[in-house]
Subunit: 403 residues, 2 copies
């Protein structure tokens, strides 16, 4: 695939003016004198030490223990879904794909705008990512362009599986990512997936506390992955979870993530190739302490988002992404989107903000530009390319607005 | 493969007599009144709480942090090898296989006597386990029978890779497991691997503190996997490590286990399909506290082993496995081996010991008998079958003999 040329950089004086305007607004939201401001720092203001000490005192630190069950129950209560804790978000995504029947030499539709784990999880199944484009308003997969693309690209086969006309590989699943906590247009994406009989998997790694029409992220897809990495809204050190409406999928997820072990008298047997994707009890203890604080964290993050949106409201060159009408975002990372003519300024602005004490970050390099995914099938990815040139994520941790 | 019939059970009175003899000796080593005795409980008698609290106070709990580097440095110092921490022993094994060039449709020689993770890690590469037999004195792969088998089974090809004559698949690696901490006959196994130009991987999940002729487990193979699961000599909750003599292999292991990320200005790129196999800092903190106590734990476990060996010395029907001349075992799990005529008593003895408060465990079901591995290539596995009928592992935690 030929990449569009990178836009020429606007001249230096103009770049500096725009950077100055952005810095002035950041200073309104987060006074520069109180910085520096990390992109997203974890916050430990609850029972973290107490629960960790409990693990040491009781001896339960590892693959079994009361905090794992408690975390699953409380996560289930918060999301309204069945929840299976696992070792990290990547493991959760891999498990979702396995449970959706993704097999070697299948294709899985994956947004090119996502963290690398989304595409890697497809590779772990021996399957091939097939990259699709995103839209600017949600940063998620564009349902209309996806529908038109699949209409032209897939063909039905006798066995009821739709295949890529060119590669002849079955297309088994569609992964949609909640980028920075913003839900994609799930109803329309679900309709597209259903039309072709493919599984819908929500990569909700960044989306704990995100809702789509009052249903938590993960409610519309067949299953979804959460992450509790250190940079997420709450953290377990590592940690992830598979969440799903379907109790059978949850049971299978638990089995597959715990080495597929089956009791057989004194003997240990395993009925399929399983995984050691268990969340240790010590990490679950941290997760329990953090989950207790989630409502406060989400409220703080929403206050910060409101402040960013207001501060940048009058800047014609860039806007802070806000939630869509159907969405309630967790605002994991507040994000500035440069307007088209200003995309060449991204690295200059990143240099200025980072050197001033605001730790800001661009979008991930789109998946189809990474060497191992360069030759994968892909639709035209023009919006992804312009998002890559225009996204700047801003400091967003809950500590920045905790009451 | 047709399984030999399970031996008929000796009559009940005889079984009871043998169980009584075994219980009497267990009571000498571990007085029944002080029980119950778990199989292998973690012991937290050092800086565990202090280091965990440090993680919370500093905010470093996740995929980066000072305890990860410290643990790697201290593990390297203890083993004399390069060490890369990762999320668990399974991930370490998978990484070792990837670094040995194991690819889809290769075969990997794997002992059928091992924990399921050993075979599963081969499956994760899309490769096929090819099962080999073990020997009774080390419980590890039998080098002589392996050499004879490979001589009859492999054929060279033009590309210098030896292939299975029947399946035509390249045989890429040999995994040898240090069962219960006992090293296999590594020099002779290394010679066999070298003869066929295949990688030697040591599954040393159970073997931290095990030495072969004064070199730590992992020193002879191309790389090795350690585990710090809750039931191991020291624990990180979860946790594992890749250890190797070769600094290049260690560098590649670090890269592959940390999403293969490459710095590129402000952008995040990844140069190959990587893994999220990082050990969180909070688990590394626990590992550091545990590693400080390792010499005491190993000394305690050795005292317990000596006591078991002495207590069972006069029992004709069973013997406690002791280290070979070339070996210094960590005695992770002390293990009783029933003599041939008494193998039918295994489950009766397990019932009696467990109900008396001694948590004892049989060997894992051999890999070639699990449904997903039943059709894999295999040599004659007669010793594995008799080991399966005769192994009883005994309570072995360090707390049982801590000074």
């Amino acid at each position: 695939m030929v990449e569009p040329a990178i836009r020429p950089q606007p001249h230096r004086q103009y770049q500096s003016r725009l950077a100055t305007e952005i810095l002035r607004r950041l200073d309104q939201v987060l006074p520069v004198g109180d910085g520096p401001y990390p992109l997203h720092e974890p916050l430990f203001a609850g029972n973290e030490k107490k629960y960790l000490a409990e693990c040491i005192d009781t001896g339960w630190v590892s693959s079994a223990g009361p905090f794992v069950e408690r975390f699953e129950a409380e996560l289930s209560s918060f999301t309204g879904l069945h929840a299976v804790a696992c070792v990290n978000g990547t493991a959760a995504l891999h498990t979702c794909l396995l449970l959706s029947g993704v097999s070697p030499d299948d294709e899985v539709l994956v947004p090119t705008v996502t963290f690398v784990a989304t595409a890697n999880a497809v590779s772990y199944c021996g399957a091939v990512p097939h990259f699709v484009d995103s839209e600017a308003d949600t940063l998620g997969v564009d349902p209309d362009r996806l529908a038109a693309y699949l209409d032209a690209t897939l063909e039905p086969r006798n066995d009821d599986v739709w295949r890529n006309k060119v590669s002849k590989r079955p297309v088994r699943a569609l992964i949609v990512t909640h980028i920075f906590g913003h839900p994609p247009k799930l109803d329309r994406l679900k309709a597209v997936a259903d039309q072709y009989g493919i599984a819908l998997i929500e990569d909700a790694a960044e989306a704990l506390g995100t809702f789509h029409e009052s249903a938590h992220a993960g409610s519309i897809g067949d299953c979804a992955a959460l992450s509790f990495n250190g940079n997420k809204t709450i953290t377990a050190g590592g940690g992830g979870a598979i969440i799903t409406r379907d109790p059978d999928v949850a049971r299978q997820a638990k089995h597959l993530t715990t080495t597929a072990r089956v009791a057989d008298g004194f003997d240990w047997t395993h009925d399929t190739v399983g995984y050691n994707y268990r969340l240790p009890n010590i990490n679950a203890a941290l997760a329990c302490a953090q989950l207790e604080q989630l409502p406060r964290f989400l409220a703080a993050k929403r206050r910060l988002a409101d402040d960013y949106i207001a501060a940048f409201d009058d800047l014609p060159e860039a806007a802070v992404i806000s939630e869509q009408a159907q969405a309630h975002s967790n605002y994991w990372l507040n994000t500035l989107l440069l307007k088209e003519k200003d995309r060449g300024t991204r690295d200059h602005i990143l240099t200025e903000t980072n050197s001033t004490g605001y730790h800001c970050r661009p979008l991930w390099t789109p998946m189809h530009r990474l060497p191992m995914y360069r030759d994968c099938p892909a639709m035209e990815l023009t919006t992804a390319q312009s998002l890559f040139e225009s996204v700047i994520s801003l400091p967003s941790g809950p500590a920045l607005r905790l009451g």
